[in-house]
């Protein structure tokens, strides 16, 4: 295995483009090293991106949007004095991943590029409208988070491409987001269902919404019918029931030891309602 620690994303991209065999990028390593150690994936080329300047930075831009470095850890996001105020759903989703030790290393970008359908931060990012910068041999492009995973363990990144920054939109006025997941215990588990909701209000009425589901299909789902179910409503019981029905209808889950198809489909609706209520309360400036 060749190990490289390039000083720029262009250099990282060139290394990957010219590499033969299996290439992996190393940020926090909480998936890459597990796969390496269990001999699931033994990379021929490992490219550590942590020596690139600014990769651990969490920056609030002049327009209120956020740029999260690809090596910024979950712990650094949770400890940030302002990020969780703007985007509590994104931060709580990231914070649900693994133990304190894993939080010390794990990153949003790693969670996204690992391609797990059950990745907790990904539905929260999709709901928030997060985009990533992808650097490749042809230059850079901006891609919506939900367009990165294409199936379990697979992404739309082509050879030589890597995510070089994460962009969270400006929170703006009267908005709120939330992420909930179901696991059979209280901590240290993989989502059986995950739901991210992000919405904006005008008075009591929902004017914008994005609802995203995790662990109920081969990739994260951004469900337009869920958004339609609550836009224009005051999140009354009828709107919440329509939201739950739309969430359940969008599910295409697997049956496994952690949850049956029927269970995941039902729980997706329940969690969508609960997450929407939390996002709504947050948009109103209430504690939730």
């Amino acid at each position: 295995m060749d190990y490289h620690s390039p000083a720029s994303f262009a250099e990282a991209s060139a290394l990957a483009a010219n590499a033969t065999g299996i290439t992996r990028f190393l940020a926090g390593g909480t998936d890459v090293l597990v796969q390496l150690r269990s001999e699931l994936v033994t990379p021929d080329t490992l490219i550590d991106i942590k020596k690139i300047e600014g990769v651990s930075d969490i920056t609030k831009n002049a327009d209120g949007s956020w740029t999260i470095g690809v090596a910024a850890t979950g712990a650094e996001m949770s400890e940030h004095p302002e990020l969780g105020g703007d985007w509590p759903g994104v931060v709580e989703a990231m914070d649900l991943i693994g133990s304190t030790q894993v939080q010390g290393r794990a990153t949003l970008t790693g969670n996204l590029c690992n391609g797990s359908p059950a990745a907790d931060s990904v539905p929260a990012m999709a709901a928030a409208g997060v985009t990533v910068t992808v650097t490749g041999p042809e230059g850079t492009r901006e891609v919506a988070v939900e367009e990165i995973p294409t199936g379990p363990g697979k992404t739309s990144l082509s050879k030589g491409e890597l995510v070089s920054a994460v962009h969270i939109p400006a929170r703006g006025e009267d908005g709120g987001d939330a992420y909930l997941r179901f696991i059979p215990r209280t901590e240290m588990d993989i989502a059986v269902v995950g739901v991210g909701v992000n919405l904006r209000l005008d008075g009591d009425t929902v004017t914008e919404a994005r609802v995203s589901l995790g662990a109920v299909a081969p990739t994260v789902l951004l469900v337009e019918d869920c958004a339609k179910a609550i836009i224009g409503s005051t999140l009354d019981d009828a709107a919440l029931d329509a939201l739950a029905a739309a969430a359940s209808a969008a599910c295409n889950p697997i049956d496994d030891k952690r949850g049956t198809i029927a269970f995941r489909t039902e729980v997706a609706g329940v969690l969508a309602k609960r997450a929407a209520k939390i996002a709504y309360a947050r948009a109103k400036g209430e504690q939730a």
């Binding site: 090293l33 550590d48 850890t73 304190t100």
Partner: protein, 159 residues
């Protein structure tokens, strides 16, 4: 296979080693630096027996490559006591018999020290969540939690 020359600081001492890029920090600590306090329980970041602190951040040393330690400040369980004087956490673990087979103990001491440095007054719930990544197969969790809570209390009174 070319080896990498790594210069790092472990428990305040400058150290150097040569490592294969596939070797984890845990392998390097145990096999090259003879610091066998950190244990390999699972090797996949689930059990926390290999917990160390890297630049003040609690991590699993099995989930970090030895080559990534270059230029970092590493703290292991071997650096917790001051010579022959045990750290208050170590003393409390003995008083409470908060260990049975002892395999998880070094990782739990490092993790608990990291908690008390960040939060000198944790609730029991915060302590249990913080230590959720440290598994004890003897299931002696209650004594461990009591030892950490009592250490926190004594350290607050002393300061």
């Amino acid at each position: 296979m070319s080896k990498f020359h790594v210069s790092t600081t472990v428990n305040g001492d400058s150290v150097e080693y040569l490592c294969d890029p596939r070797e984890t920090l845990l392998d390097c600590l145990r096999d090259k630096l003879n610091l066998t306090g950190a244990k390999e329980g699972c090797g996949t970041g689930d059990c926390g027996a290999c917990s160390v602190s890297v630049d003040g951040r609690l991590v699993c040393s099995c989930l970090m490559l030895g080559v990534e330690a270059d230029g970092k400040q590493i703290e292991t369980v071997e650096g917790i006591a001051d010579g022959d004087v045990l750290h208050p956490l170590q003393q409390k673990f003995i008083e409470h018999a908060a260990l049975q087979c002892g395999i998880c103990t070094p990782g739990i001491l490092v993790a608990a020290k990291s908690l008390l440095e960040k939060n000198p007054n944790p609730t029991e719930e915060e302590t249990r969540y913080w230590l959720a990544g440290n598994l004890c197969r003897c299931t002696g969790y209650d004594k461990i939690i009591r030892a950490v809570m009592e250490t926190a209390e004594e350290l607050r009174e002393a300061s």
